[in-house]
C-alpha cells in the first residue's frame, strides 16, 4: 500500500520523552492508546509548572499564587470549551475521568421509576454499570440497542426502541472495543425529536476526531484527559448550561456553595457546584496543555495517520489463519483500533509475547466490555489502538511479530 506523509511524525515524536527511552535496549511501540495515551513534554511541563511555581489553591485564596492557579485553570477551561466549540466555558465541568462524568449525570439527572435509558450492546462498563445501579435503586429501565452483525450501529433498532418513555440515550460515541463510531448527529436529532436527552461517552472520540458540540447539539458529553495526551485522573463533563443548572450536584462540599447555614446552603452556579473539594489543579493545567497541543496538531492529520496505520495492519493480518477481526472489515470504519482474536489462543498470551519480543504494548482481555464478550461467548481479544505518533515502522514491526506468533502458536 502507498504510504502518504500526513504529518511530520519524526518531529512530533520528539515531543514525547517516553518515545526517546528504550525498554530493555529496544524502543517501545505503544499501541495501547485507547487505554491511555503518552504525554508530550508540553503537558509534563504544565504539570511541573504548577508544582514548581504555583502550588496553591484556586479560587479560595487571594494571594498571588492562588490568583495564578485560578487564572491557569480558567484558561484550561476556556481551551477545552474552544476545543469542543462549546457555547461557554461554564459548560465544562472538570472530573477525574469519563466514568465520573457519566456517574455525575446518572446520579444528578432527575430519573423517575420506569424512565428508560437506552444504551448499546457494546458499552464500556462505565456506561453500563451506572444504569444498572439506577435500575435497582430507582426502578429505571435499561434497554439495549443491538448492533448490526458487523458491530456497527443499528439505527433502525434504535428507532424501534425510542419511545416517549426514553428519558436518556447514552451511547459510547466511538467504541473502545472495535473503534466503530456511531452516527451521533442523527441519533441526537432523533432523540431530541422524541424529547429524550443524549449523553455521549466520547472517551474514544475526543482524542481522535474534531468535535463541534454546537453542531452536534448533544446534551452531555463525557471524556477523559488521559486518552488525549492529558494527565491521568483528569476528565471533562460537558453539559448544556441550562441542563447543568437543573442538575442536582452529585458530590458536594467545599467549593460547591456560595454560602451555608447550619441547615441549608446556596450552591454556586455550574460548573463550580459540580467540582467539590480541592481539585487536581496540576492535572487541569496539564489537560489544558494537552488540548492546546492536539488543536495545534490538527485533527485531519491525526485521523488520516491513524487510518493509514489501521489500513496497513488490517490488510496484513486479516488473512492470518484463525484470526478474526472484531468490527467491520473496512478499517476506515474502525478509526485507530484493530481488535482481533486468534481462535484457540489466549489473547493475553499474544499480548505478553508481543511485549517480550519487541516491546510492543497492546491491550488484551475484554477491555471493560465484558457484557459484549460474554454475550458473544468470547474470552477476549487483542486490541491495537493507534495514535498519531505511531509510525509505519511500528506497524510493520507489529505485523511481523504477530505473523511469527501465528506460526508458533
Amino acid at each position: 500500500m502507498q504510504w502518504v506523509q500526513v504529518m511530520d511524525i519524526k518531529r512530533i515524536r520528539q515531543d514525547f520523552p517516553i518515545l526517546q527511552e528504550n525498554a530493555g535496549h529496544k524502543p517501545i511501540t505503544y499501541f495501547d492508546n485507547a487505554c491511555q495515551s503518552l504525554r508530550p513534554k508540553a503537558v509534563i511541563d504544565a504539570i511541573n509548572q504548577y508544582y514548581l511555581k504555583s502550588s496553591a489553591c484556586s479560587g479560595r485564596s487571594m494571594h498571588q499564587l492562588a490568583a495564578e492557579v485560578t487564572r491557569s485553570c480558567d484558561q484550561a477551561r476556556s481551551s477545552i470549551a474552544k476545543f469542543l466549540n462549546a457555547a461557554r466555558k461554564e459548560e465544562i465541568v472538570f472530573t477525574r475521568n469519563t466514568t465520573e462524568g457519566i456517574n455525575l449525570v446518572s446520579n444528578s439527572l432527575d430519573f423517575q421509576k420506569d424512565d428508560v435509558v437506552l444504551i448499546s450492546d457494546k458499552e464500556h462498563n462505565s456506561n453500563l454499570i451506572p444504569w444498572q445501579i439506577l435500575a435497582k435503586r430507582k426502578g429505571i429501565i435499561v434497554k439495549i440497542v443491538p448492533s448490526q452483525e458487523d458491530n456497527t450501529f443499528d439505527l433502525q433498532a434504535f428507532e424501534k426502541l425510542l419511545d416517549k418513555k426514553v428519558k436518556l440515550v447514552s451511547f459510547g460515541q466511538t467504541s473502545n472495543l472495535d473503534g466503530v463510531s456511531i452516527p451521533a448527529a442523527e441519533i441526537i436529532k432523533k432523540a431530541h425529536q422524541n424529547g429524550s436527552l443524549v449523553l455521549l461517552d466520547a472517551a474514544q472520540t475526543a482524542p481522535h476526531y474534531r468535535i463541534n458540540i454546537k453542531a452536534l447539539d448533544v446534551d452531555f458529553m463525557a471524556f477523559s484527559g488521559h486518552k488525549m495526551l492529558g494527565p491521568s485522573g483528569t476528565g471533562v463533563l460537558y453539559g448544556k448550561y441550562q441542563l447543568l443548572e437543573q442538575l442536582e450536584p452529585f458530590l458536594v462540599g467545599g467549593d460547591t456553595v456560595l454560602s451555608s447555614t447550619y441547615d441549608s446552603c446556596q450552591f454556586l452556579p455550574p460548573p463550580e457546584k459540580f467540582e467539590a473539594g480541592l481539585q487536581d489543579y496540576a492535572g487541569i493545567m496539564g489537560l489544558g496543555a494537552a488540548v492546546n497541543y492536539l488543536m495545534g496538531t490538527g485533527f485531519e492529520a491525526v485521523e488520516k495517520q491513524e487510518q493509514l496505520l489501521n489500513e496497513y495492519i488490517t490488510v496484513e493480518i486479516k488473512d492470518m489463519p484463525k484470526l478474526k477481526l472484531i468490527g467491520p472489515a473496512d478499517p476506515k470504519r474502525r478509526g485507530g483500533i484493530v481488535s482481533f482474536y486468534i481462535e484457540g489462543v489466549d489473547s493475553h498470551r499474544i499480548a505478553l509475547m508481543l511485549d517480550q519480543m519487541a516491546n510492543i504494548m497492546v491491550r488484551s482481555g475484554q477491555h471493560c466490555v465484558h457484557s459484549w464478550f460474554n454475550a458473544h461467548q468470547l474470552k477476549g481479544s487483542v486490541r491495537v489502538s493507534l495514535y498519531f505518533y505511531n509510525t509505519q515502522e511500528e506497524a510493520m514491526l507489529f505485523v511481523n511479530s504477530l505473523k511469527k506468533i501465528g506460526k508458533v502458536l
Partner: protein, 312 residues
C-alpha cells in the same frame, strides 16, 4: 509442574529482585493450588510461558514452536532435572560438611565451598622417597608397627594416627586442631613424624629422643613447635633453648641424637611410615579412615563422634 520449577527459581532470584519476588508469590499460589488438587487458574503458567516464548521466538521460531508444543513435557523434564540437581547439590553440601569436600573424602575436584581446594592440599612427599606412586586408596595402617612412635591415651578405643612434619604448613594447620580434639575426646593419638622437608631431618631424631626422655614434656614440646614460628625450627639454638625451658636435659638429648642406635631406630620408624604409602602431610587415620590434607575441625570431630558431634 512448571509452577514448581518457576517457584524455586523465582524464589532464589527474588532474594535479589522485587519483581521476581512478586512472581515467586504468584508461583507459590499456583503451587499451592496444584498440591491441593485444584487447577492453577491464576494465569501464572500462561504468563510465564508467553514470556519464554516471546524471548525464544526472536532467536528461533522452530525452537519456540517446539517449546509451545511440548511445554508440559519440557516442564516435567526440567522438574526432574531440578529434583536431580537439588539432590546432587544437597549431597555436595552434606559431603562438604562431613568430609570438607563437596565430592567426598579426599577428593580434590572443584568444590564451590572450597574453591581453592585448601582442604585437600598436602605437603607432597619427594618422589625419591616413594617406591611407586601412591594414591589415597593405597593408604593403610595394616602391617604397620606403631610401637616406638609417640602415643597419647594409648588404651583409648578411638585411635588417631597422625603423619606430619614440623616444617609443613598443612601439618602445622592441622596438628593443633587434632590435638584439641584429642583433649576433648581422650582419643588415642599416635604421632608419626616424617620430615618431608629435608632440612628438618634432625627433628625426627630430636622428637624420638625427647619422647624417650619424658613423654609428657614431649607433647608440650610439640605444641610449642607446631604453634610457634616455623622459621625458628631451623635455628638449633632456639630448639635447644625450648627443650631446656621445658626441663629437658639438653646434654642427654644431644647424646641421644648423635647415638648410632638412635639413627638406626629412627630409620626403622621412618621405614614404617613409608609403608603406610602416604604421599604427603598431613595424613590422618581416624579409626582406620584416612584423611589427606588439612580438613576443617568438624571433619575430624565427625569421624570420631558422628554427625552431631557438637551435641556431645
Amino acid at each position: 509442574m512448571f509452577c514448581i520449577i518457576a517457584f524455586v527459581i523465582l524464589a532464589i532470584l527474588g532474594i535479589f529482585s522485587a519483581s521476581n519476588r512478586a512472581l515467586a508469590k504468584e508461583a507459590l499460589d499456583c503451587v499451592f493450588r496444584r498440591v491441593t488438587l485444584r487447577p492453577c487458574n491464576t494465569g501464572f503458567d500462561e504468563k510465564m510461558k508467553s514470556k519464554i516464548l516471546g524471548s525464544v521466538i526472536t532467536r528461533s521460531e522452530t525452537a519456540a514452536r517446539l517449546i509451545n508444543k511440548n511445554f508440559e513435557l519440557l516442564s516435567w523434564i526440567f522438574f526432574f532435572l531440578m529434583v536431580g540437581s537439588s539432590v546432587w547439590a544437597l549431597r555436595g553440601v552434606y559431603l562438604f560438611y562431613v568430609t570438607g569436600s563437596c565430592n567426598g573424602l579426599n577428593q580434590a575436584a572443584f568444590c564451590v565451598f572450597d574453591p581453592k581446594g585448601a582442604n585437600n592440599q598436602v605437603s607432597g612427599l619427594a618422589a625419591t622417597c616413594k617406591v611407586t606412586p601412591t594414591t589415597e586408596k593405597d593408604l593403610t595402617l595394616d602391617r604397620i608397627n606403631l610401637a616406638g612412635f609417640p602415643v597419647l591415651n594409648e588404651n583409648a578405643s578411638d585411635k588417631i594416627v597422625f603423619i606430619g612434619c614440623y616444617h609443613c604448613d598443612y601439618t602445622r594447620k592441622t596438628y593443633p586442631m587434632v590435638m584439641d580434639l584429642v583433649k576433648k575426646t581422650n582419643a588415642s593419638f599416635t604421632f608419626l613424624h616424617y620430615p618431608v622437608k629435608e632440612n628438618t631431618d634432625y627433628m625426627t631424631k630430636l622428637g624420638y629422643c625427647a619422647y624417650q626422655q619424658d613423654q609428657n614434656k614431649y607433647w608440650q614440646m610439640n605444641d610449642i613447635f607446631f604453634t610457634g614460628d616455623k622459621m625458628k625450627l631451623d635455628d638449633t639454638a632456639y630448639v635447644q633453648k625450648t627443650l631446656a625451658s621445658l626441663g629437658y636435659d639438653s646434654v642427654k638429648i644431644n647424646t641421644c641424637i648423635d647415638s648410632p642406635q638412635t639413627e638406626d631406630t629412627v630409620q626403622k620408624l621412618l621405614d614404617e611410615v613409608i609403608k603406610t604409602k602416604f604421599f604427603g602431610t598431613p595424613t590422618v587415620f581416624i579409626n582406620g579412615k584416612v584423611l589427606v590434607g588439612p580438613k576443617p575441625y568438624r571433619v575430624y570431630a565427625i569421624m570420631l563422634d558422628g554427625l552431631f558431634y557438637w551435641l556431645k
